[in-house]
């Protein structure tokens, strides 16, 4: 197909449009129906009930998954309890070997996991490929290393695993949150029953296959699917000795209330309303990238998202100009396209929640900016949004939106920045942008947030503990700290 000179001239006139570059899906086998992974086998649910999981970018059904009832939960906890006897007494170096095996299998099946994660959850393939899956493998590698070195992690202390851990994870980073929960629990010698979110169960079910491939002893990892009811059955089951929950503050409070007096250990990783603070001496172009990464990464479905931009008034104008220009270049669309920056909103319910809060922002008087972007006909989508003229009292400055919506506030002095940043019921993360090293430390000392990023945002590493202050929860995941919730130290 030689092009004529005229065609070449026409080509030359066009703008630089990126042709679609979709990741192939033909190598992924999603089964039409899934059971529950209990005692090392996929089992038919006692409930006989199933519900569909859909692709939020196309609204098409991907598979039917089982809805575990009380009997199913009981079976899973029993299987974990039975496995605990031998798993907890196993030579730690052998436990370590299983974890290493799992990490390598995650790496081997990385492409498949990334595609499934994107199809089931709507996040751009570039994120599942470059962030979720590699970090998941890294977490298993990291805790595999600790499994036989616990006495060095906690010198002069005796350590014992707790028993069966009941773990409930959210839909924003399904595989990564699974890894954050399962890797330290197993390294410390516990067994687990894990429930993925009802909208994103597929990567966890794929992980069940990986456990089989790794020949993990039956019952060490059990994966049950279902909605909130299943989760509540799991955390309240008397056989569960430790509960780990990541999700909304609302549900976290319910769990904490229901566990009162049971003696069960609990860690919670809940919502956030992080301040991303830009000082006038900051490297502006990189700060813009950090702001974009902070709030539009994973469509803003990130508990530590930098959803409040606090910018020093003296540079507010040029910064916002740059930010708006940059946001206009974001590419929204097919999450499987390698060039997509913003994928689909995870579910219809979440889309409605985002829309509701954005409406409230407009009503309360904030100024809305949304770049022109083509919204696909099917699926759930929300354009990247910036609110300026926002006051501390507006709902969009106080409530977690969990969507691609940024609220911009200004400040005059560092002290005011600290005051405004901390003036929230949450305290999960914060970002500081400045060229001055001393100011970074000064700010970090004063921020009531579990993570403070300096001149970067949303950077994760298995060696670094992560967790919240105030209504963002308690307990830490990652690092040596991440082992503590899964051990009895004496």
């Amino acid at each position: 197909m030689a092009i004529t000179k005229r065609q070449a001239a026409e080509l030359a006139k066009q703008a630089f449009e990126y042709a679609p570059a979709p990741e192939a899906t033909d190598h992924v086998r999603i089964q039409p129906r899934y059971g529950l992974f209990v005692g090392g086998r996929m089992q038919e649910p006692h409930s006989k009930k199933r519900f569909p999981t859909i692709n939020p970018a196309t609204e098409q059904k991907l598979a039917e998954v089982a809805e575990a009832d009380a009997v199913d939960v009981g079976r899973a906890v029993d299987a974990a309890d039975k496995a605990f006897a031998s798993w907890s007494r196993m030579a730690p170096s052998r436990r370590s070997r299983y974890l290493f095996r799992i990490s390598r299998l995650i790496q081997e099946r990385a492409r498949e996991l990334a595609v499934v994660e994107t199809m089931d959850g709507g996040k751009p393939i570039k994120e599942s490929r470059d962030v979720d899956v590699p970090l998941s493998a890294a977490h298993f590698f990291y805790y595999a290393g600790w499994a036989d070195k616990l006495e060095w992690a906690f010198p002069n202390r005796r350590h014992r695993p707790l028993g069966v851990a009941g773990q409930v994870i959210p839909w924003n980073f399904p595989l990564l949150m699974l890894s954050w929960k399962i890797a330290p629990a197993l390294a410390a010698g516990n067994t687990v029953v894990l429930k993925p979110a009802e909208t994103t169960p597929l990567s966890a079910l794929l992980f069940a296959e990986i456990c089989q491939q790794a020949e993990l002893p039956p019952g060490v990892v059990n994966i049950i699917t279902g909605a909130g009811k299943t989760g509540s059955l799991l955390v309240s089951h008397p056989g569960v000795k430790k509960v780990a929950f990541t999700g909304s503050t609302e549900v976290g409070k319910l769990i904490q209330r229901s566990l009162a007096g049971t003696g069960k250990r609990l860690t919670l990783e809940l919502g956030g309303k992080a301040a991303n603070i830009v000082f006038e001496d900051a490297p502006l172009d990189q700060a813009v990238e950090g702001i974009v990464n902070g709030i539009y990464f994973n469509q803003g479905h990130v508990c530590c998202a930098g959803s409040r931009l606090l910018v020093q008034e003296s540079i507010a104008k040029p910064l916002l100009e740059k930010l708006k220009q940059r946001v206009s270049t974001l590419r929204l669309g097919d999450p499987l396209d390698k060039n997509t920056d913003i994928g689909a909103i995870n579910s219809k319910a979440q889309l409605e929640k985002i829309q509701g809060l954005v409406d409230s922002g407009v009503e309360e008087g904030a100024e809305l900016f949304q770049p022109e972007c083509k919204i696909p006909e099917r699926g759930y989508w929300f354009p990247p949004t910036i609110f300026t003229n926002v006051s501390q009292s507006y709902r969009i400055a106080r409530e977690e939106i969990f969507g691609p919506v940024l609220s911009v506030l200004t400040f005059r002095t560092p002290a005011e920045a600290v005051e405004k940043a901390n003036n929230t019921p949450y305290g999960l993360s914060a970002g500081v942008w400045t060229d001055k090293g001393s100011r970074i430390l000064w700010m970090a000392e004063r921020m009531r947030a579990g993570v403070v990023w300096a001149n970067t945002f949303n950077r994760f590493d298995p060696t670094s503990p992560f967790g919240g202050y105030k209504e963002s929860g308690y307990g830490r995941e990652g690092g040596v700290h991440g082992l503590l919730p899964y051990l009895e130290l004496s």
């Binding site: 030689a2 065609q7 630089f16 570039k126 502006l284 172009d285």
Partner: protein, 294 residues
């Protein structure tokens, strides 16, 4: 100059790396490859350059693929001042411009009077464009005035010829330095700012280009004057060339996707681009023997 806004190295590297991951396929790839040729400064800068070598390169510049009229000519030929007259003769009427390096290329370590005279002579010999180097010795010792004044003097010596100012970023040490030199060169009147001479490693890199383009964007916002960008040195593959186009497009926008504002300086890139165009059109790679080496 010390008031110029700083650059965060980690952030700039990260942004450049993320843009390099853009996947350009099919029609957009063909478009990008066509543009890469139209924006190319086909370069030979060797002590061994002869009139014969320049003649061969000129023929290649006008008609990169003999017998295929759909392949456009390159933007310019880039040679040493002593070869400008040869190139001028072979390119007359072709639309391909003659660019000459000047000002004691590549080190820039000479007298301002010599740099000005060299520029005047190159323009008199028929250069449409002059690629000057900045005095890095002066820049690194903090003598920004000297660098500025020299660019102003060379710009004046250029007359109607376009001035590209080579920052030689591989010798500047930091992205802060790159940004400072970019602003300085633009303020002094550069029509283009250019990464490297190609004689020093590292030459052009994506993050350095990003920092320079962000400076161009800020300069445009402040003054309303668009300044062009040229990447040079070490760009040998189509994949690299496309990465530069992507970074230009997403930083400066569609207005910069033209030879008037964007150039790629390269000596061996052209044949790889031709090979990739053939591959896109026919679905198969051709042997290197089907592309002329000039």
């Amino acid at each position: 100059m010390r008031g110029v806004r700083s650059v965060d190295e980690v952030g700039a590297d990260e942004r450049a790396a993320s843009l390099a991951k853009r996947s350009i396929k099919k029609s957009s790839k063909l478009w990008a490859l066509d543009l890469a040729i139209r924006c190319m400064d086909l370069t030979t800068l060797e002590g061994s350059d002869t009139p014969g070598k320049v003649a061969g390169l000129c023929a290649k510049a006008i008609r990169p693929k003999p017998g295929d009229a759909s392949i456009p000519s390159v933007a310019a030929i880039c040679v040493y001042p002593a070869r400008v007259a040869d190139a001028r003769e072979h390119l007359r009427g072709s639309g391909v411009r003659v660019a000459s390096v000047a000002t004691a290329f590549p080190s820039g370590q000479s007298f301002t009077s010599i740099k000005v005279t060299e520029t005047e002579d190159a323009v008199a010999a028929g250069a449409d464009e002059v690629d000057m180097v900045i005095d890095r010795g002066a820049f690194l010792s903090g003598d920004y005035h000297k660098v500025y004044d020299e660019i102003v003097a060379v710009k004046e010596a250029c007359g109607k010829a376009h001035l590209k100012v080579i920052l030689e970023t591989g010798e500047l040490g930091t992205y802060d330095g790159v940004r400072r030199a970019s602003i300085l060169a633009m303020a002094a009147g550069a029509d283009f700012i250019k990464t490297s001479t190609g004689k020093i490693q590292p030459a052009a890199t994506l993050p350095v280009s990003l920092v320079m383009m962000e400076s161009i964007r800020d300069f445009m916002r402040e003054t309303g004057r668009p300044v062009g960008f040229k990447a040079a040195g070490g760009i040998r593959t189509s994949k690299q060339a496309i990465a530069y186009l992507v970074i230009t497009y997403e930083t400066l926008g569609a207005d910069w996707m033209t030879p008037d504002r964007f150039r790629l300086g390269a000596s061996t890139l052209l044949n790889d681009v031709l090979m990739q165009i053939d591959k896109e059109r026919t679905g198969a790679y051709q042997s290197g023997d089907y592309f002329t080496i000039d």
